[in-house]
C-alpha cells in the first residue's frame, strides 16, 4: 500500500519539480525581455526646447480641452515664471488643476532663458502602473498612460513611484478624491487620430506629434544637422526605459530642470527578478515540500489512511 502511495507521490514530486523548473525558466526569459521599447505604434511628442518661447498657450489649451478649473492667474501672466516653492528650489509643478505647466530656466550657458513644458512623460514601462496594486493605470497601445479613478483606492503609491513627480491628487475632495495627471488627451483626441490639444495650440511647433519611433529619428536628425545648437542627447529616449514624451535642448538638461540621474532602464527592472519568483515560491514550494515531507514519512512505513488520502489528492 505504502509503495503505491510512494510511487504516486514521487510522480507528483516530479511534476512539481518540473513545473518549478518551468516557472524558473519563464522567469528568466521574462527578465531577459527588459529591452521592451513600448508598443510598436505608440505615439509620442518631441519637445524642442530651442523653440519654446514660454507663451503658455499649451497651458491654456490644456485647461480648455479638459475643462479644468479657473487658474489663479491669467495664462497671459508671465509672473508665474518667477514663482518658486520649497525655499526657492522648486519651480511650478503639475497640480490637480493643471495637467501641464511651463517653467523658465535662466541658464549659465546661454543668454536667453530656456522654457520647459512639463506634463506626464507617458513612460513605456510606467512606474506608476507598476506600483499600483489595483491596476488603476493602463499603458495603451497608442502610448498614453491613463488612469481609472473608479478602482483607485487612493493609496498614492503612484505619486511616490513616478520618477517625474507628475501625478497630483485632489486632496481637497473629501468624498471622491482622485489622481490627476495628463492623459495625452486619450479619450478626446489620441484615439481619434488627433494630436493633444497642447501640441495643436503651440505656435512655435515646439511640440511635434508622431509615432515615437519616428520622433526618435527626428530628434537625432535635428541634433545631427545642427550639432552646435543642440546637446547631443534625447531626454526620454532611454530614461527609465523610454518615455513617449521626449525632449531635445540647447543647454545641458540639468540646467533646464531635468533629473539627469535617472536610470536608463525601466524602474520595474529593479523588482522584476524578485517578483518573478514569488509565484513559484508561493505556488510550488508548498506542494513540493509537502511531498518531500510525506515521502520521508512514508519511508518509515507509518503512513495512516488519513495521510494516504492526502497524498492521493496531492498526486492529482
Amino acid at each position: 500500500m505504502s509503495g503505491i502511495s510512494r510511487r504516486k507521490f514521487l510522480k507528483s514530486t516530479v511534476i512539481a519539480g518540473g513545473s518549478a523548473a518551468a516557472a524558473m525558466s519563464s522567469t528568466k526569459s521574462a527578465h531577459a525581455m527588459k529591452e521592451f521599447e513600448g508598443y510598436p505604434d505608440s505615439m509620442g511628442v518631441l519637445v524642442d526646447l530651442t523653440r519654446c518661447i514660454g507663451c503658455r498657450t499649451c497651458e491654456a489649451a490644456c485647461n480648455q480641452e479638459h475643462g479644468l478649473p479657473e487658474p489663479e492667474k491669467s495664462f497671459s501672466d508671465f509672473s508665474v515664471f518667477d514663482e518658486v516653492f520649497h525655499g526657492g528650489k522648486q519651480k511650478r509643478r503639475t497640480t490637480e488643476k493643471a495637467y501641464t505647466v511651463v517653467n523658465r530656466y535662466d541658464t549659465k550657458d546661454q543668454g536667453a532663458p530656456v522654457y520647459r513644458k512639463l506634463q506626464c512623460f507617458h513612460c513605456s514601462e510606467p512606474a506608476c502602473l507598476t506600483s499600483c496594486f489595483v491596476n488603476a493605470y493602463t499603458k495603451t497601445k497608442e502610448g498614453a498612460v491613463i488612469y481609472n479613478a473608479d478602482v483607485c483606492v487612493g493609496c498614492r503609491m503612484c505619486m511616490v513611484a513616478c520618477p517625474f513627480s507628475m501625478p497630483a491628487y485632489t486632496y481637497d475632495s473629501a468624498l471622491h478624491p482622485e489622481i490627476i495627471k495628463c492623459n495625452f488627451c486619450y479619450d478626446n483626441r489620441l484615439t481619434k487620430g488627433k494630436p493633444p490639444a497642447c501640441v495643436e495650440a503651440c505656435p512655435q511647433d515646439a511640440l511635434t506629434f508622431g509615432h515615437r519611433k519616428t520622433l526618435v529619428k527626428t530628434a537625432h536628425d535635428r541634433i545631427r544637422s545642427n550639432p552646435k545648437k543642440y546637446v547631443d542627447h534625447v531626454y526620454g529616449e532611454t530614461e527609465v526605459g523610454g518615455t513617449s514624451w521626449m525632449y531635445i535642448s540647447s543647454v545641458p538638461f540639468d540646467q533646464a530642470g531635468f533629473n539627469t540621474t535617472l536610470q536608463h532602464h525601466p524602474i520595474l527592472d529593479n523588482t522584476k527578478s524578485f517578483l518573478g519568483i514569488v509565484p513559484m515560491v508561493l505556488g510550488i514550494w508548498p506542494a513540493m515540500f509537502l511531498g518531500f515531507h510525506l515521502l520521508a514519512k512514508g519511508g518509515k512505513g507509518k503512513t495512516d489512511d488519513k495521510s494516504k488520502n492526502r497524498v492521493e489528492v496531492q498526486g492529482e
Partner: protein, 175 residues
C-alpha cells in the same frame, strides 16, 4: 546677420503665401503688403509689411528657401539645393500644411523611407519660427499683440481681459 535674415524670412513667407504667390509665380514684383489670416482664431490676421522686410533682408532665400532658384542661405539646404531651379509655386502652404499632425499627413511623411523632408513644420509653426525668432533676436517687437490683436475668443482662451480669473482658483504651483 542671422536675425536679420530671419526677420526678412518671416515677411517673405507670409507674403508669398497669400497675395504674392501668384504674382511671384508669374515673375511679377513682390507685394508691398500681405494679409495673413488663414489661421486667425485666437488672434486677428496680420497685415504683413513685405516691403519693409525686403528692406531689412535683401536675400529672399532667407525666408523663401530655394523657391526662386537663386541659391539658398541655409548651408544645410545648399547641400542639395544650391543649383535648384525656381519652383512653380512659392506658397508657404504648399509645404507647410495647416494641420501637420493628422493621421493622413503623418502617414504620408512615413510612407517613403527614403524621404528626406520628413520634419517639416506646420504653417503656424513656420510663420512663428521665422517671424518671432528673428524679431526676438533683433529686438524688434516680439510680444504677441505687437503683430496681431487678440480676439475675444483669444481672451477667453487665455483667461485675460474680461475673462481674467476672479480669484479662488490656484495656479500651476503648489504650496
Amino acid at each position: 546677420m542671422k536675425s536679420r535674415k530671419r526677420w526678412a524670412l518671416k515677411g517673405t513667407i507670409v507674403a508669398l503665401f497669400f497675395l504674392a504667390a501668384p504674382a511671384f509665380g508669374a515673375g511679377g514684383e513682390p507685394p508691398a503688403s500681405v494679409r495673413i489670416d488663414s489661421l486667425s482664431h485666437l488672434y486677428n490676421g496680420v497685415d504683413f509689411d513685405h516691403e519693409l522686410h525686403v528692406g531689412v533682408e535683401e536675400d529672399c532665400s532667407v525666408c523663401h528657401h530655394h523657391v526662386f532658384g537663386n541659391g539658398v542661405a541655409d548651408t544645410q539646404c545648399a547641400r542639395c539645393h544650391s543649383d535648384s531651379k525656381g519652383t512653380s509655386s512659392v506658397a508657404c502652404s504648399d509645404c507647410h500644411v495647416k494641420e501637420p499632425f493628422t493621421v493622413e499627413h503623418l502617414r504620408e511623411m512615413e510612407a517613403d523611407p527614403n524621404r528626406y523632408h520628413v520634419d517639416i513644420t506646420g504653417l503656424k509653426g513656420a510663420y512663428h519660427l521665422r517671424c518671432y525668432n528673428c524679431h526676438f533676436a533683433m529686438e524688434a517687437p516680439s510680444e504677441c499683440a505687437d503683430c496681431h490683436e487678440r480676439t475675444d475668443a483669444g481672451d477667453r482662451f487665455y483667461r485675460s481681459g474680461k475673462y481674467a480669473p476672479t480669484g479662488g482658483g490656484t495656479g500651476g504651483g503648489h504650496e
